[in-house]
Each structure stands twice: as C-alpha cells, then as structure tokens.
Symmetry: C2
Subunit: 429 residues, 2 copies
C-alpha cells in the first residue's frame, strides 16, 4: 500500500493498553504515533515496592524509545508531550510541543488519584499512582523514621511513627503490609534508637472487608496476614478530614499522624476534549461500546482504565486492571485491521487476580480457585517478573527480591530528594 494512503493512528498513553495497540495493530495500514507525557512505560503493580524501598524506580520503568526499537513496533513513532487539548471536531491532538492530526484516536491515558474534592487533601497526603509519587512517598516515610530516631518529645515522635493508609484495595493492602514489615523486621536492625512498639501502621477501609474486588477468602486471608504484621486494620471506618496532622474519622475519633498514604480513589486522567458535548462519567471514564468506540465521538476509541465498558457479569463496568487493558488493546488492534462489518465485539477473559502482603505471602484468585501463603507469593512473583518489560529489569528485580528475601535488608532505603531547581528548566521561567 502506498504510505500516503495509510491512515494515521494516534494513541494517547504508553501504558499496558496503549503499548499493546501500537504493537499489534497492522502497520501496513496505519502510521502510528504514540504520545506520552513520560518517555517511559511504568509498571503500576509495583509502585508500592518503590515506596517501601524494595525496588529502585528504574527497575519498574522502561524507556518507550527502547521498546520501540523492536521489530514489532516498526512504523510506530514516539512523541513526548503532555496533551493539552484533544479537538475531536478538527481531529487533532495538541501537546505542549506540537499539534498532531489524526484519523483514528485511541485514548489510553489511564487513571490518576481521586481525592473526591476533599479540600487540601492532595497536598497533604502521599499517593502511589506514578513512579515520582512513589519516590516521594519513600522519601517521606524514611524522613519520618530519621526524625523520630532523633526526637525526644513523646507525642511528636508517636505522630511521626504513625502511618495511615487509606483504602483497602490491593495497593492499600500491599503498602500497609510493606510498612508492617518495616515495623517488624527493619526498625530493630537499622533504627536502633526507635522502639518498634511505637511505630503504628493503620489501614482504613470504608467497607466491611479488604480486597473488595477479590474473593471473600482472599479478603479474610489478607486481614489475617496484616494482623500478623501488626497492622491495625479498621474495616467500616471512614476518613472524614485530615489537617494539622490530625486525621478525623466519621465517628469523630481521630489519630495524630504526619503520613497519610491515600489509595482510596482513582479517576480517569482528565483529558481536555473539545469539539463535542460528550463527557466522561463521574469516575473520569469514557463510555465505550463493545468495540471500544467512545459513544458519540467518531473515530475515537478508549481502552483500559479510562474506558467504561459494560459487560455480562460486570454491571458496573469491567474492572480497571491491566489484563482488561491489554486484552482490549489486542482486540482493538485486530479490529482496526478488519472491515467495519467484520469486527468482533470485545469479550473479557478473567484470568484471575492477586495481591501480596509482605515478603512471602500473597492471595491469588483464579476463577473459584484460591491460593494463599508462600505458594501464592511464588505465583505472584513469577507473574510480575514475566510482565515486566525488558530482560535487564527482570534480572535486577529478581536479584533485589532474592536479596531481600534471604537477607531482609535493602540497599534502597534512600532518602533522595530532588535537586533544588527540579521542576522546570530555566528556559521555562
């Protein structure tokens, strides 16, 4: 086919979904441009390990340009830039640096934190929806431990040593477990002047169980495992507000803390779409049909966490997890190569879900089958290693995990704050 006849496919987002579309779509039919505000692909399931000093940021990040050197990406080009406008009337995507016309547009920008409009919360809590957020969380947790080890005021010290995680989903459970391990195994060795009893890890969940998206057994196992790590799990508790180091619950009780890790809500990354009256839903998701077409906007598709797709058995839409994004991406890539009459509706195959609690426990649900304990942890580890991009990353992560497993020590507890002028180059001033 003449290259001039190729349609231009623009993909916003280089996560699991966007990258899979770029990989599987027929590049003899499409000129593909992948736009991302970062030059790297991230691995969200392990952000919590960066935050808890178990992995270095580079191990769970993979440069997109490097990936695109692969044969399967021939015909794909990477464009760096944050999207500042999507004009679906003019069919253009505008970034900070350029305006890109498209024939077909795929929204695959994923999600970010949802603070449900609670004023000031964004600045006061720490979050885990990107690698820089995880690095910040790591720095702040380590900073509390350092300051607590020097502080002789009992009340202030307890405040520094109280860590509250809000949200009992996988991320909340995983970071609470990692903090529990710090309390249980790390403090005594590395912070001899802190009494481990003084460190408190509180996990707050509004519903009556943990891991609401998984089986009841998994929720119960996670609760038990967190109890063994001395995490204070509060089910059915709701956070009301957080200011002046005081977190207040709905029942009026409160706890003093300097560190609140917020994992309680996500929303689709806000994309400034103009030229249409169609809006995303309250959770920031774009409603799509079974072919992942955004309803009401021509030539625009959405996949992954930013899409809302109803399906049999999923009245509230398909779950916002990586397998959905990757399966949708693959089906969409195939459909884009088919005549419109021959396209196939997307069907999600649930391969199971899992979460880990601490160093050698996990819970795994595969259909009605449930695994727990060390075996589940091994499954968890293998699945995550295989899913990482790049042999170098897999090797380094594996070394880190083995090192941590056998020695319980981490060379990664680095309180490494950014340089003084970090946010922009001087030419932005």
């Amino acid at each position: 086919m003449n290259p001039a006849q190729k349609k231009r496919l623009v993909i916003i987002g280089g996560g699991f979904g966007g990258l899979s579309v770029a990989r599987y779509v027929d590049k003899s039919l499409y000129e593909v441009i992948l736009v991302d505000r970062n030059n790297y692909h991230s691995f969200p399931p392990l952000f919590y390990q960066v935050a808890s000093s178990g992995l270095e940021p580079a191990s769970i990040s993979f440069p997109l340009r490097r990936e695109m050197r692969g044969r399967r990406y021939r015909g794909v080009s990477f464009h760096f830039g944050e999207v500042v406008a999507v004009d679906v009337a003019a069919c253009t995507v505008r970034t900070k640096f350029e305006t890109i016309p498209y024939d077909i547009l795929v929204l695959a920008a994923g999600t970010t934190n949802n603070f449900f409009g609670i004023p000031g919360l964004e600045k006061r809590v720490f979050t885990l929806k990107s690698t820089p957020e995880a690095i910040r969380c790591r720095n702040e947790v380590l900073e509390r431990l350092e300051r607590a080890s020097l502080c002789r005021n009992d009340r202030l010290r307890r405040r520094m040593l109280t860590f509250v995680v809000v949200g009992g989903g996988p991320t909340g459970v995983e970071i609470a477990g990692a903090l529990g391990e710090m309390k249980r195994f790390v403090l005594k060795r590395e912070y001899p002047s802190i009494n481990p009893e003084e460190m408190k890890v509180i996990l707050v969940e509004g519903s009556e169980r943990l891991l609401g998206a998984m089986s009841a057994k998994s929720g119960a196992d996670a609760l038990e495992a967190l109890g063994q790590l001395m995490v204070d799990v509060r089910l059915g508790w709701r956070m009301e507000r957080y200011s002046d180091h005081v977190l207040t619950f709905a029942d009026g009780t409160s706890v003093e803390t300097e560190t609140v890790i917020w994992t309680a809500g996500i929303t689709g990354v806000p994309l400034p779409v103009v030229g249409t009256g169609v809006k995303p839903d309250r959770a920031g998701r774009w409603k799509v049909d079974a072919f992942n077409r955004v309803e009401g906007i021509d030539d625009v598709y959405a996949i992954g966490d930013i899409a809302f797709q109803e399906a049999d058995g999923y009245p509230r839409g398909l779950p916002q997890v990586a397998p959905v994004a990757m399966q949708q991406a693959r089906e969409l890539a195939r459909n884009l190569g088919r005549d419109s009459g021959r396209r196939k509706p997307f069907k999600y195959r649930d391969k199971g879900s899992m979460a880990t609690i601490g160093r050698n426990r996990a819970v795994v649900d595969i259909g009605r089958f449930h695994l727990r304990g060390r075996l589940a942890w091994l499954v968890w580890m293998c699945v995550h290693l295989v899913s990482l991009l790049g042999m170098r990353n897999r090797t380094v992560v594996f070394i880190n995990w083995m090192w941590g497993y056998f020695t319980f020590s981490s060379g990664l507890r680095l309180l490494m704050r950014p340089d003084r002028y970090p946010l922009r180059s001087y030419w932005d001033e």
Copy 2:
C-alpha cells in the same frame, strides 16, 4: 573502660573520609556520631554515569544505616540532618533537628560547586556534585533530545542539540565522552527523527590541556579519544557569561545552547562555623597541620576535600580526591587512639589516578607508568567496582556495564521528573 568516660567524636559527612574515620577509630575510646544531610553514602566518581543514563541512582548510593549494621561500626550512630551551626566555643554541632555536643569534631563534608560568583549561573547550568544533581542533568539532556525530535525550527533544534561542558577535569572529560557516545551510537537507534550531525558536544577548558592533574600523556590521549567521539574540545577557551541561551566566550564569540554542564569549579561545603575567627581559604578549605588538626581551633579536625594540607611535592595542597580522604581518615582514626605525643604525621601515598572516556577507553597514571585504551578501561572498571559499597550495588553496576557494553543500549534513559510537591512535606509549609 566505663562508657561515661568515653569521649564523643562527632563526624560531619558520610563520604569516603567520614565513613572511614567512623570505621577505623577505636570505639572503646569514643562514642561516635556520624552526621549527614543525606541518609546515604554517595559515589561521586560515577555521578556522570547517572547523568548520562548509564547507571541508576540507587546503584551508586548506599544507605548509611545499612553500612552501620556492620561489625566494624558497632558504637557508631547515624544522625540525619543538615548542619546549621558549628559552635567551636561551646563545642556543639547544631542541625535542623538537634544540638549535639562534641569532644572531638571531624569536618568531612566534602565539596560542592563553585560558580565563582557569576550571577545567575547556578540556576542556568547543570552540575554533577550530587546524585540529585546528576538525575536532574539526565532529565534535562533527555528532555532536549525529545524536544529536538519534534522541533521543526532549525535554529531552535540546533540550540537544543548543543551541549556545552565547561571544565576539562575528569568529570568534564567523562561527561563529554558519554554525550559523545550518545551522538555517535544512541541517536540513530533511539531518536530516528534526529540527524546525529546536528548534535554538538563542546568541551571548554581554560588551560591548554585536558586532565591537568594527570600526566601530559593522559591529557593527550583523552583529547584524541574525545575527538573520535566527535566532541569539539576547545582548549584555552574561557567562558565569559551565559544567559538567554547564549554562552559567550572571553574572545567575544558565542554559541547558542540550552544545556551547559558546569564542572569547572569546586569549593568546600560551606559550614556555618561560629565561636572562632578562623575561616576557610578562598576555595572553602580548612587549613590543617600534618595531623589534620584545623589550625587555630582546638579539637577540630578536617579531612578530605574540605581540608587544605600542604605536603612535599604538593605546594598547592594535597589533591581533592577520594584516596587522600580515605588515607587521611585512616591515619586520623589511628592517631585519635594514640597519646598525643605518639601521633604520626600524615603521609600521602599516591596510588595513581584515572579517567574514562566513553565505553571502553580510559587513561591511567600510576607513578610514571601510563596506560590507555581498553586495558586502562578494564583497570578503571575493576577499581570502581571494588570501591563501591555493597555487593548488591557491585552486582547491579556490573550487570549494567556488561549489558551496555555488549548491547549499547540502556534501559535507564528515563526522563523522570519529581512529583509536584517534592521539595518539602506539607508540615514544613
């Protein structure tokens, strides 16, 4: 000996020097407190590899608390905090968090960048005197490449692709070599829309040769190697000023660039010392005698880059390199265990010096003996691997180097800027 009779030894700085004092001093005589503004030990010789995406920051950083779990550090405690005052009359060190009385004080805080008072320079150039500075430099270099790959204005694109390194010492030579390799080997593969010819790397050195502290042969070899990497080395050129993206030389010529990497000057880390009239010299160094006692201040010692010690054959003082710091530290630690009449004056044994240019070339001087090329690079690699703290770091660095050596590709070209609220926790506000 009764612990109450122990003297308290406070060390400011956990670099090569400070850490060695803590390690070798007799802990039955001294209660040792090591103070550092970071919770990790860094490895300055490899900062340039972080800046050029060859290594991840965690590989050349090692948590001080982890090191101190070792047997040789029993009796040493780590105190996190930036020093805000050293009162040599009251014998106290005050940090942001506490006031620590000392009997003996060792200054081992090292050096930072010297901008020689050129106004605004600090904010406009990138530097390599700490890991966060190196990360920032890495981000900004990658950002220029991304923007250049999208820019259609020839003049702006050339400006983005012009990288100027100021200073022809080891750091300048090493970062210029790494940028030269990017131009020569990386651009074509990973930035196909950039014409490598358009990327310019300029190394500016005021004197008539490179690597002034090494042999003339090493300087000449480095010049040749940089030439092969297409680095434009300008010897005898002086930078006059840099503003509005224009770097002006002393002869009035100028070059447009967005990226100036400043390696041209260092100065002792400014320590706010009060209670004495003694001041450091113009280069921020404290003058010490042969026993590393700071002249004119009782019970205060200085070692490493922050000390100025005259010695035979070194009329301008001993060089500011790691071996001097480590040897001084070891002798000082021994002397602190000896009665004052039996102390031994420090004598520096020069074991040689080296610098690397690109991926498999280096220059090594050992006495009158000179090595170059691949063999020198192997020596360089071994010496640096052995000097790194921690087996995990050595393993990961070795893997990265081998990977880079055989594949020429790096999984570390991550433009990873900090999170939005990175500089302080909200409770500092």
